[in-house]
């Protein structure tokens, strides 16, 4: 297997993009990534497109074929990858394997989703289609609902507090406000969402015990990366390449109820361990991470299951500022899903793009993790039933 590097990244601002179609967004992000890789007028060997919902939301299928056509990448091999909210990281894994195997030299991986095409409760329904069609979906369960049940159990077992969840929400919206690609650009305060008597109206319960500001928004957006063998990258990349040092992927039961301990996100632990092992690194070696905080509780739970903190300690660390910029392990300096937004098919790719920005040291100092060498991501599918983790390394 060859070492594979990321030589170009591109992203468009997430949010509500009424003016763009799904293909527009995928094309814009891809062109930015191709330009960034110095391949603006060249082709690539293969293309992977991450998308979860075009078939439902846009009534459109075969988005990978459509994208190569838009980008004049014909006759590149092209596949669409649908793996729920982990589609993005899954697509990158496929691109990585295609290049690592030696079969292809260059791969474009783009992820995109256009969720604001439909009203909020239809988007909620669309996301809920990943639940079990017989044992879960008919009851009206939503992903926030799954997260609500998980949060209560996690609080009961590990003593996670509402204040710790608030700390995540406030930190990530603060970072999002500094990120030009973020959907949510509004700073929130503990006073406004918790302490003030008006907070009960500002921040109502959404899926008990989670509140409105514990949730990520519903977003449109796209992101893309270009991959090639590290040796080739050293010759052609206009910017410093970033090595995909390790990856891992693991699955778990479809329904939460069939897990022996529903608070144990085994797939997160396994995927992270695989990624660290392949990279020959340990959690303590990571300088910056992008975790899948679709709900504030997930940032805490993932940070623990990935091995950065002991169970029950992740929330405390966040509250103490250890996961903020300048802290021991800055998490979600992009604002995370909470503020960058969560266009489901785009998220896993966007996380990698943000870590590449960090490892190339090209962000404003308010968002740049100092001397970042190793980065880590978790893209969380279903409710923890399909997890993809990556370890990225700066190439000096």
């Amino acid at each position: 297997m060859r070492d594979v590097a990321i030589i170009g990244v591109g992203m468009i601002p997430f949010g509500r993009r009424d003016e763009d179609t799904l293909l527009d967004m995928l094309a814009y992000a891809s062109l930015k990534a191709l330009d960034d890789a110095g391949l603006g007028d060249k082709s690539v060997d293969c293309v992977y497109v991450a998308n979860m919902g075009a078939g439902i939301l846009q009534h459109q299928t075969s988005v990978a074929s459509a994208l190569v056509d838009r980008l004049s990448l014909i006759p590149a091999a092209a596949d669409a990858v649908e793996n729920g909210p982990a589609s993005g990281a899954s697509a990158i894994k496929n691109g990585l394997l295609a290049v690592a195997s030696g079969y292809y030299d260059t791969a474009l991986v783009a992820g995109g989703e256009k969720m604001r095409e439909v009203v909020g409760w239809k988007a909620t329904d669309f996301v809920a289609t990943m639940t079990h069609p017989e044992a879960e979906y008919p009851y009206g369960i939503t992903l926030p609902g799954m997260a609500g049940m998980f949060t209560r159990l996690y609080m009961e077992k590990y003593g996670v507090t509402r204040e710790q969840l608030l700390a995540i929400a406030i930190k990530n919206q603060k970072m999002g406000a500094l990120n030009p690609y973020a959907h949510v650009e509004m700073v929130i305060t503990k006073e406004g969402i918790y302490d003030s008597p008006d907070a009960v109206v500002n921040n109502p319960v959404a899926a008990d015990p989670l509140h409105l500001y514990d949730m990520c928004p519903v977003s449109d957006g796209a992101a893309a990366v270009v991959l090639c063998p590290l040796e080739l990258a050293k010759k052609i990349a206009p910017k410093s390449p970033v090595l995909i040092a390790g990856f891992g992927q693991a699955t778990d039961t479809h329904t939460l109820q069939e897990r022996d301990d529903p608070t144990d996100l085994k797939a997160v632990t396994l995927a992270s361990q695989q990624a660290f092992e392949m990279a020959k690194l340990k959690p303590k070696d990571i300088d910056v991470a992008e975790l899948h905080d679709a709900f504030t509780i997930l940032e805490i739970a993932e940070s623990e299951h990935a091995g950065f903190f002991k169970k029950g300690e992740g929330g405390k660390a966040a509250e103490k500022g250890e996961t903020s910029i300048g802290g021991k392990l800055p998490i979600n300096l992009s604002g995370g899903l909470k503020a960058r937004g969560h266009p489901v098919g785009a998220t896993g790719v966007a996380q990698i793009v943000d870590i590449v920005f960090q490892l190339r040291h090209e962000l404003d100092k308010k968002r740049q993790a100092k001397n970042a060498k190793n980065g880590f991501t978790i893209n969380f599918g279903g409710f923890g039933n399909n997890i993809v983790a990556f370890v990225l390394r700066r190439v000096e």
Partner: protein, 230 residues
Amino acid sequence: MAVDMELEAVLRAPEIPQAKYPPKVITLANSKKMVVREAERRDVPILLKAVKPTMEIDRDFYDIVGARLYAELLGWYKHRVRNEYCLIGQIDGYVVGIVNGRMVNKDIGMSYHTLALDRGLRVGSHLFASKMEHHIEYLGQKEVWITAESPIGFRRWMIEYGLLEQEGIQHELGGANSYKLTREIYFETKPRLVAGTRPVPKRLLEQAEKEILVADEETITEKICGVKGR
């Protein structure tokens, strides 16, 4: 234009005396303080400046809400809508939201429009709640009739408040079946939907009353549509 006051006296129907809405202050999610208070008829020209750009925004029914609110406020200003009132939300003096309605009679209130000029802070939601508070607690009415022009409004008002559908009863705005808020529903939902404290600290109230500031058209459009037109 010279106004024929004799004819005008015929056209201006007598109004029911209306209780004033006492100002309150709401702490928003970002800690900004929004003063909610009743606008005076003389404030209308400046409020129209704030509403005007929304008439061009073809998003979430802002255009229709903006156009109708513009007309209603103008109608009130020129004495062509009876028993109308208007509440505004101000942050640092700037108007960030406008709601209006009127008294049909002593017992029935008619909710007109809710326009949020800043989004993501639940300004519209807070102002709609203030409007219900005004009808029930200060105007002392038994019920408020409501209709929704946007899906957001429908979800927010009809479902969140649990309003009663009034089959076949036409709201003054036309449209689909109307819904009503009763005193019972209001007091049941008040703890979770009606925010704000009184009295408003002197400095904040003085700032709000001193001048109603209106952002420029571009800023209003950007705040409503987001800056993601990039």
